[in-house]
């Protein structure tokens, strides 16, 4: 059939980009995410100009030249085999730094919408990631629609657009196990509730352990999982190989396997929540920065933005790893620290890998997306705290060495692109929720240490109920910011990376 292709790698046609424009996506980062253009083998070499020209011709109002910003190019420039990156070395004693590009252009000021934000709203949610948008939608389900969501960049600019899409029930504390179970149920029916496909695939999670300490941790966790109805099994190395025949089991002592864990495509969650909330009257203001707060008598009264002030009754801080910076504007000290986590994607392959595989000893994890790419990452124990979203060669080397050790046939696969996102790390690896001491109408919703995405549907559901009904919920009493001052920590140790 006649199709005019704008991105031949991913088969994106002019009609599809027109549809994205109709949905309000007129910047190249957003159109890239909504249509998938520029995410194929050429990484935008062939299609970027064509799509930019199309936007210039079709978007209303016509974008100014300064508003046509190319999406951030990701290394490598040409697909390059894992075996090549793996041949390099790195010094595990030295902390990683640097990274390219220095600035990601997350908040292009040229893209700031004209016009002011609403002058008042009952609830202002800061952060248009999955937490904030899921909360907004859940509040609308409870009849609360006088809400403004503020996002400093495009939708998906933050960690919600940067994670690997793994969702698991295998956690180390009853609270997280239950939240994750509920989230996974909500994710499975997301398309029914919100009308957007999220490519939920129950491929399971396979944790590998290479030391006795990690084996013991998996065994402890599995016993807890079983107690809460999660069917985690401890497998021998041979048993793990039955799950993924291509895996090398050298050095592996045991594995934990839960077939009910899953992999999803993260991006549509934000579109689904945002569109549904907007239909109910919620205002989602992208490319809008919070620059301060006004307070009176121990309460926040206004949120100050670069597009005007919003008088409000309640403020929810759901800005993930950016939350401490925003909180500081209200004089609140959050203990969260951003930690860069790098991640990458290979060329797409026909399906061969069912579960997400993770080596808990090293922090390596990888899975196959519904598009066929092997998406994976590996935390760096030396990564210093700080907001740094650059990409490094060191990561490609560490990851490639670890992945080819576990999956030797991956050596000739090619890395297509790498990027990074911030883990929002708290001192006890547990979230910060509930009221702020001294500022009771500032509600905290951050500190999810790299697993916020998978927790968000359940956390937002409970938070909306708590906010709307005022009924007590232990989540918002146990995990408060006040616990750090009170020395009441809630430790979670099943963190990957």
């Amino acid at each position: 059939m006649s199709k005019a292709l704008l991105c031949p790698c991913e088969d994106v046609t002019t009609s599809e980009v027109e549809h994205a424009i109709g949905k309000g996506y007129c910047d190249l980062e957003s159109v890239k995410r909504f249509t998938g253009f520029g995410t194929g083998m050429c990484q935008g070499k062939q299609c970027l100009t064509a799509v930019a020209r199309f936007l210039e011709d079709k978007a209303q109002p016509r974008p100014k030249p300064s508003q046509l910003r190319p999406f951030t190019p990701r290394p490598p420039l040409f697909p390059t085999e894992l075996s090549q990156w793996a041949a390099a070395s790195f010094d595990p004693q030295v902390a990683p730094g640097g990274g390219v590009p220095e600035s990601l252009g997350l908040t292009e000021s040229a893209l700031k919408p004209e016009g002011e934000v609403p002058k008042k709203a009952k609830i202002v949610i800061i952060g248009g990631g999955i937490m904030g948008l899921a909360l907004a939608w859940n509040l609308t389900e409870r009849g609360e629609t006088d809400i403004v969501v503020l996002e400093k960049g495009y939708l998906l600019a933050g960690a919600s657009g940067r994670n690997g899409g793994g969702v698991r029930m295998q956690w180390g504390t009853p609270t997280l196990i239950e939240l994750a179970r509920r989230s996974i149920d909500l994710m499975e029916r997301f398309a029914r509730d919100l009308g957007v496909n999220v490519w939920f695939r129950r491929g399971g999670y396979l944790f590998l352990a290479k030391s006795d300490g990690v084996v013991a941790k998996l065994e402890r966790a599995a016993a807890l999982h079983n107690q809460y109805g999660v069917p985690t099994q401890i497998l021998t190395p041979d048993g793990a190989r039955d799950v993924v025949p291509q895996l090398s089991m050298t050095g592996v002592k045991a594995a934990a396997w839960n077939p009910l864990d899953a992999v999803i495509f993260p991006w549509p969650f934000l579109w689904g929540y945002a569109h549904a909330a907007q239909q109910k009257g919620v205002k989602v203001e992208t490319f809008t920065k919070v620059t301060g707060f006004e307070q009176s008598q121990g309460r926040l009264t206004k949120v100050v933005t670069d597009r005007g002030d919003i008088a409000c009754e309640t403020v929810v801080l759901a800005a993930g790893a950016w939350s401490p910076k925003v909180a500081a504007l209200a004089g609140v000290d959050l203990p969260n620290e951003p930690h860069r986590h790098e991640i990458c994607s290979t060329e797409p392959l026909k399906p061969f890998l069912g579960p997400l595989v993770s080596v808990l000893d090293s922090g390596l994890y990888f899975s196959q997306s519904m598009r066929g790419e092997i998406v994976g990452g590996m935390g760096d124990p030396r990564e210093p705290a700080g907001m740094n979203l650059g990409s490094t060669q060191r990561f490609l080397t560490r990851y490639s060495q670890a992945l080819t050790e576990q999956l030797p046939q991956a050596g000739r696969l090619k890395i297509l692109r790498q990027w990074s996102g911030p883990y929002d790390v708290t001192p006890d690896n547990s979230p910060i929720l509930g009221r702020t001491p001294g500022l009771p109408n500032l509600l905290q919703m951050s500190g999810f240490v790299g697993h916020g995405f998978m927790m968000a549907p359940a956390v937002a559901e409970r938070m909306a109920a708590w906010m709307a009904t005022g009924e007590s919920d232990e989540l918002f009493e146990r995990f408060t910011l006040g616990r750090f001052a009170e020395g009441r920590l809630e430790r979670e140790d099943m963190i990957i990376g």
Binding site: P8, K45, A88, V94, Q393
Partner: protein, 425 residues
Amino acid sequence: MSHRIAPIDQPVTFEIDGESITAQAGETVAVAFVAAGRTTLSRSIKYHRPRGPFCLSGGCSQCLVRIDGAPNQYACQTEVKPGMRVERQNAFPHASLDVLQATDFVFSKWFNHHEFMAGVPIVEKVMLQVARRLSGLGLLPDKPAPARAAPIVETVPLAIVGAGAAGLAAARTLSERGVPFTLFERERACGGRLSIGCDEGAPAIVVPPGASLRVGATVVGLFSDDGRPFLVALQRERLHFVFFERLLLTNGGQPTLLAFPNNDLPGIYAGRAVSRMVRTSGVLPGKRVAVVGEPDEARDLARLLVASGAQALAIGAKPVRAHGLRSVTALTVELGGKTEKIDCDAVALCAPLSPAFELARAAGARVGWDERSRLFTVEADASGRATPTVWVAGELRGPMSAAAAAEQGLVAAASIAATSGGATP
């Protein structure tokens, strides 16, 4: 039909899906495929549309094939070897007749993957399973990669990327002034558009004697792990980490895609892919070639095609729609205010390159939308300086002739020499 201008004198035989094809030694799989009169080399990822080589410069995805057990290899970047086993991907039962092309008809405009069957009980689950099976391109490699040598780590005072018109001109000036540099070129020979393009009035290819040249060295990235920037170049299956003090980027661009219905049919090529085929391999993409797009470039290419024995049609016209089932058989164009359908067996799309700004951006240069050319170009001052340590010249900065690119190379080199404190004659 595509064909060779001269017979093969150094034959190499390789296999595509079990069928033997004889090629000229030294040419790439993609060119050998075109020269053999074939059209469908791959199937597109979603709609299984037939695809053939387009850019011949490793910048698109239309020639990806499995080669000797490794998936998604660029046929246009892989030299034929005797006995090489090439397999076409993403087709059932066969790339020439792929029943999965039904998706192209079912989803006649586009496939709304966000909403298709979303939330429909049972159907949704089936759809997910089907989508999973159909996803991806190529299969996992057969075996682990061969052992790779550790990268070579080196430091150079000045790295230049791209030995085209701008890079070579800069290299000449720097050599004359005694400024040391190392020049990286992705192709096996220097020249860039000077060897594969067909610009009238282009300067000759002059490689300065004694220069430090790395040909066949693809720069795959620019990193800055500890604050010191370095290039990563892949040469003869080995990475080089090249720390540099200063950087001159003259790496040009990629063919620009023009959007019109059926712009992806086999037989439609980037203009420079056609001149490359004719000039470096003596292969004509067709007998009747529509040479459309930017008029100056189209005129030069038409002259080359006619001199090589093909017909050049619709020179400089605006392409409106391509026609054909398996490969292009006609093109509707607009020329002089008239719309016309022209029978042809190949199309050359002439358009200024889209600047390959990725390295410049990673090195800290600014990239902006140039309203006139409607391209993203790298911003720099009059001497080509984009940052205190990075210079850019040539088509990275926008559309220009080969002569103008060379001139920019000279200017950038002079600026580098003036700031290097190196010897001047």
